[in-house]
């Protein structure tokens, strides 16, 4: 069964002078239970796809299906029960004046769950935080702990699909390892589908089975992780991206420019 199917998706932003086409004619198919990565430089449209999916951008055309259901202009509560998003910056994503308990119980109540108390304890346990964290405020947590809370909140409605927008780029490498391991465990335990955006190919390579490379609003190549590890992408831009992420090379002709 298919998790996310996107056909001919166009997303644009109307500026004062001209229209910016952020995503152009994109097709994507992500199977349920798969972990799929979107990579590319900033401004290539990877986050825009996630935001269009969750209904944060109204100006789009084409077709988007999530677990067989075709998406319209507005997202229903049922949609948010199935699809949740984790944002890049855990410092900005949590309300500074709500305690962890308030953050989680609000989401749970919105989705009509009973026995909120027990669920909060279970959610905190799921993301590796003890019950002592329940009445803390975000400023009393480290970056990694905040991201764990953000993940717990995303898990609260028991979704099938998690959209991950650079979930570890604001974190130190040792904390990044913990969060990536946690996401891996959760995916297995809850049979989740991941659509993950990152500019770090090593992170995507660790988490995902297939990746799509984006450049200037278009998907230029979809490849498997094995293809990427063999350093064998077909498109010149993917090759360039891959080479850049292998580290700095001295005295070599740098950077082919965009076509």
């Amino acid at each position: 069964m298919s998790g996310i199917v996107i056909k001919n998706l166009n997303v644009w932003f109307d500026g004062a002078e001209e229209r910016v086409n952020a995503v152009k004619n994109t097709n994507l198919k992500i199977v349920q239970g798969e972990s799929f990565g979107l990579v590319g430089e900033s401004g290539s449209g990877k986050s825009t796809i996630l935001r269009a999916l969750t209904g944060l951008i109204p100006t789009w055309s084409g077709e988007m299906n999530v677990t067989g259901e075709r998406l319209g202009r507005h997202r229903t509560r049922q949609f948010y029960k199935k699809v949740q998003m984790v944002f890049q910056d855990p410092y900005a994503a949590l309300h500074p004046r709500h305690s962890v308990d308030q953050l989680l119980s609000e989401t749970l109540r919105l989705h009509g769950f009973s026995n909120v108390d027990r669920r909060i304890e279970k959610l905190l346990d799921n993301v590796g935080l003890g019950p002592t964290f329940r009445f803390r405020y975000p400023h009393q947590l480290s970056g990694g702990q905040r991201q764990r809370v953000a993940i717990a909140r995303a898990l609260a409605p028991e979704p099938e699909i998690l959209l991950l927008d650079e979930p570890t780029s604001a974190l130190d490498v040792s904390v990044q390892a913990e969060i990536l391991n946690l996401l891996d465990d959760l995916r297995r335990a809850h049979k989740l589908t991941y659509l993950m955006v990152s500019h770090d190919l090593a992170v995507v390579g660790h988490m995902c089975k297939r990746i799509a490379v984006m450049q200037m609003g278009e998907i230029v190549e979809i490849m498997t992780i094995e293809q990427m590890r063999d350093l064998n992408p077909q498109h010149p831009y993917s090759r360039h991206l891959l080479e850049s992420s292998l580290g700095y090379k001295r005295q070599k002709e740098q950077v082919p420019q965009k076509p």
Partner: protein, 284 residues
């Protein structure tokens, strides 16, 4: 030759709960080389960079046996003398161009301003020099960028403008604090290429502060690894993977790698002993 020598540097901040020591007695030297300083947030890397230029604000305190530039102790200098050093013999590039450029001045105006400080020259002379500097950092359309405001530039361009601005006075030392972490990988390589060229052509000393281990090991000559305000290990950069300190090893192992897939990433367990151990000397 050695440009800079730092001996037993401490940076302290008094807080309500006693004195917080951000940097705890580190010593290192810098020659004509690319010296990397790596560590996690809070390790004291940026504080080290700022302390050298005395950019630590009160109530923060900087103390050291000496911080000498070519034999002159920066700590013994008056404010006026430090101002002559800052930006002219030692420059600093900060992490985010958004917060370091003046948003209500055009790029050209602010670059010219910093250049005029160096001495009396005619405006047209200065203008040419600025356009030249923009060309030196691979900006393709320097006259457009000259008249642009910072918000009209992309992150990579902004970062290059800052580098160009810092290089006009032809400094002996450049301190780059995470100069590329806000940039995309491809732009990152371009900016590194520019820095690299400048070190080689001008014989400059570069202090490269970063949290990215693989980047530092491929770009720098020597690396200081900082933990809890101390230097725990000093490595030759391309031998970083042979590092022996458990903290460095832990950091390296926690990185996902492109070439070798792992089932699970190793998680770093911290030993309180690391923070207590004496600082390793980074003097060459």
């Amino acid at each position: 030759m050695t440009w800079l020598e730092v001996d037993n540097l401490w940076v302290k901040f008094p807080t309500r709960n006693g004195i917080f020591e951000a940097v705890r007695g580190i010593s290192f030297s810098l020659g004509e080389e690319r010296l990397g300083i790596v560590g996690e947030s809070g390790a004291g890397k940026s504080m080290t960079g700022r302390a050298i230029l005395q950019l630590i604000r009160k109530p923060g305190q900087v103390s050291a046996n000496h911080i000498s530039l070519d034999g002159d102790d920066l700590l013994k200098m008056s404010k006026q003398e430090i101002r002559k050093i800052r930006g002219q013999r030692i420059s600093m590039v900060m992490q985010d161009p958004k917060f370091s450029l003046n948003p209500v001045m055009t790029v050209g105006e602010q670059m010219m301003e910093s250049y005029m400080l160096l001495g009396k020259k005619s405006r047209s002379e200065v203008r040419n020099k600025v356009v030249e500097a923009l060309e030196a950092v691979a900006i393709r359309d320097p006259s457009r960028v000259f008249n642009a405001y910072p918000h009209e530039l992309s992150g990579g361009m902004g970062q290059r403008v800052m580098i160009a601005m810092m290089l006009i006075p032809d400094p002996d030392i450049l301190i780059a604090d995470e100069p590329t972490s806000a940039l995309d990988v491809s732009v990152q390589m371009q900016v590194l290429g520019i820095l690299d060229k400048l070190v080689q052509e001008r014989g400059m000393g570069l202090i490269f502060i970063s949290h990215d281990l693989s980047l530092v090991s491929s770009f720098c000559d020597r690396v200081l690894i900082m933990y809890a305000g101390r230097i725990v290990e000093v490595c030759v950069a391309d031998k970083l993977h042979e590092a022996t300190h458990p903290y460095t090893r832990g950091l390296l192992k926690s990185l996902p790698r492109l070439d070798t897939p792992q089932e699970r990433l190793a998680v770093l367990t911290r030993d309180p002993e690391w923070a207590r151990a004496e600082s390793v000397s980074g003097v060459k």
